[in-house]
Amino acid sequence: MSLLAAIPGFPSNQTSLNPAGPAAAHIEHTFALIFWITATVYFITLAVLMYFVWSRRWTLALAPIPQPTSDASDRLATRAVAAAVAVTVLLLFVMLISSFVTSHRLGKMNDQQALTINVYGHQWWWEIQYPNEAEPYRMVTTANEIHVPIGTPIRIHGTSRDVIHSFWAPNIQGKRDLLPGYNTDVLMQVDKAGRWRGQCAEYCGMQHAHMSFYIVAEPQQDFDNWMSAQMQPSVVPGNIQAMHGQQVFLSHACVLCHTIRGTTAGSHVGPDLTHLASRSTIAAGMLPNTVGNLGGWILNAQALKPGSRMPPNQISGPDLQDLLAYLETLK
């Protein structure tokens, strides 16, 4: 789609026209075919229309009514209309077959030794789990950021914990709705390294607009390093400030909703924070994960994302600094 690449801003990391994986690439082929056929048909049809409108134009006062038509011109018109309908049917078949072929290819994507990732949609964040069949207790739970190795088939196993959401990372794959009461599986594969942005694509309430995630595609080695780091429980705080910060965490409302493995905080209402500092964004892709943003989010999330499930917290200045220092150690 070099044509669209000419538009400023293309390519980007949230578009179906910059495929980073085989699924999006297959889809883009059908998209391009349909685009060229329909654009051509559109321009030809309208050109024909305007040609006739222009060449046959008259004024009301002059033309007798009704306009007598000759058999010859009617026969010609009949043939032309029949031909046009036949061409339409033919072109529709071509596009139909392309669509079927792409669907078939998507269904036959390689799923050998696929890595399974569970995705749970919540209002308004994504819970990501990497189940570990060999050692179930070494499951990795994180939020809003999915790391995948390049070139490996991934099976996204998804459902929703509340309302209907839709898991969509356009550079990689078409969307799949996450429905409560249903488990769905979709195969995907990323071939290009990078941070690919996805967004919820089914209206799910107040903050649907701020429910994004990132798929970080990296070489196998980097991915393995990341996985082993994620499997570790949280670090023991190394300095006084971080230790006090952990105390602040454990004595405030944080423990009512969040888990930090390696501490006594074990609630599953909100995202797992064990490796919070390893993530590049907070608030479901809404804010870069910086100390300032994190502080603002903790103090008054409602001002940033009104209606979200994170309540405001009253923490004194020094306590907040220590808490942030602790959270920054959760790499």
């Binding site: 609630s267 209606g307 009253q314």
Partner: protein, 183 residues
């Protein structure tokens, strides 16, 4: 002219009713987020005090009551009180109120904690969330009107929807005012 005054009055009433129920207070501001750590059993305070919150803002808002229902699960009230029938903790859907059924009393139950296992949430969660929980708890025994109380949940139906429950009559419901002593 009588007609238009009447219409105006009806419109105002309508607006009142809809406005309260559909109110969604997402960011109650710093006053509302004051950590709840005080009791409010009587109005006499040493020194100044924050104005008492308007409970009808919570009990009249369907959104606030539904938030209370969400927090009831999120903060694990279900762990002791189940879905209102009680387990380790007392039932909340009946007419027995150990510490009183008035909103201010339920508020201090949650904030202060109570003997035999009710934890204190004071200093942990914001004021407005406690009031939302209070409103939801009151709905569990049918105290709230049916257009405000929550309807059936999308979980296993273990109890009737709060809006369909019979209104229980706690013993402290119709308190008689104390007579002034005669001279």
């Amino acid at each position: 002219m009588k007609f238009s005054r009447l219409t105006f009055a009806i419109l105002v009433l309508l607006l009142q009713a809809g406005c309260k129920r559909e109110q969604r207070v997402l960011d109650p501001g710093s006053a509302g987020t004051q950590i709840a750590d005080g009791t409010a059993l009587n109005e006499v305070h040493a020194g100044g005090s924050l104005p008492a919150p308007d409970i009808s803002q919570y009990e009249g808002s369907a959104y606030a009551v539904s938030e209370g229902k969400r927090l009831y699960s999120a903060y694990n009230c279900v762990g002791c009180h189940a879905q209102g029938g009680g387990a380790i903790g007392p039932a909340l859907m009946d007419s027995t109120w150990l510490y009183g059924s008035q909103p201010q009393q339920i508020f201090s139950d949650i904030v202060q904690g109570r003997p035999n296992g009710m934890p204190s949430f004071g200093g942990k969660i914001p004021d407005y969330q406690v009031w939302e929980l209070v409103a939801y708890v009151r709905s569990m025994s049918g105290q709230l009107p049916s257009d405000v109380a929550p309807s059936r949940s999308d979980q296993m139906p273990v109890a009737k929807a709060e809006q369909a429950r019979q209104k229980e009559h706690p013993s402290d419901e119709n308190q008689q005012p104390i007579q002034k002593a005669k001279p």
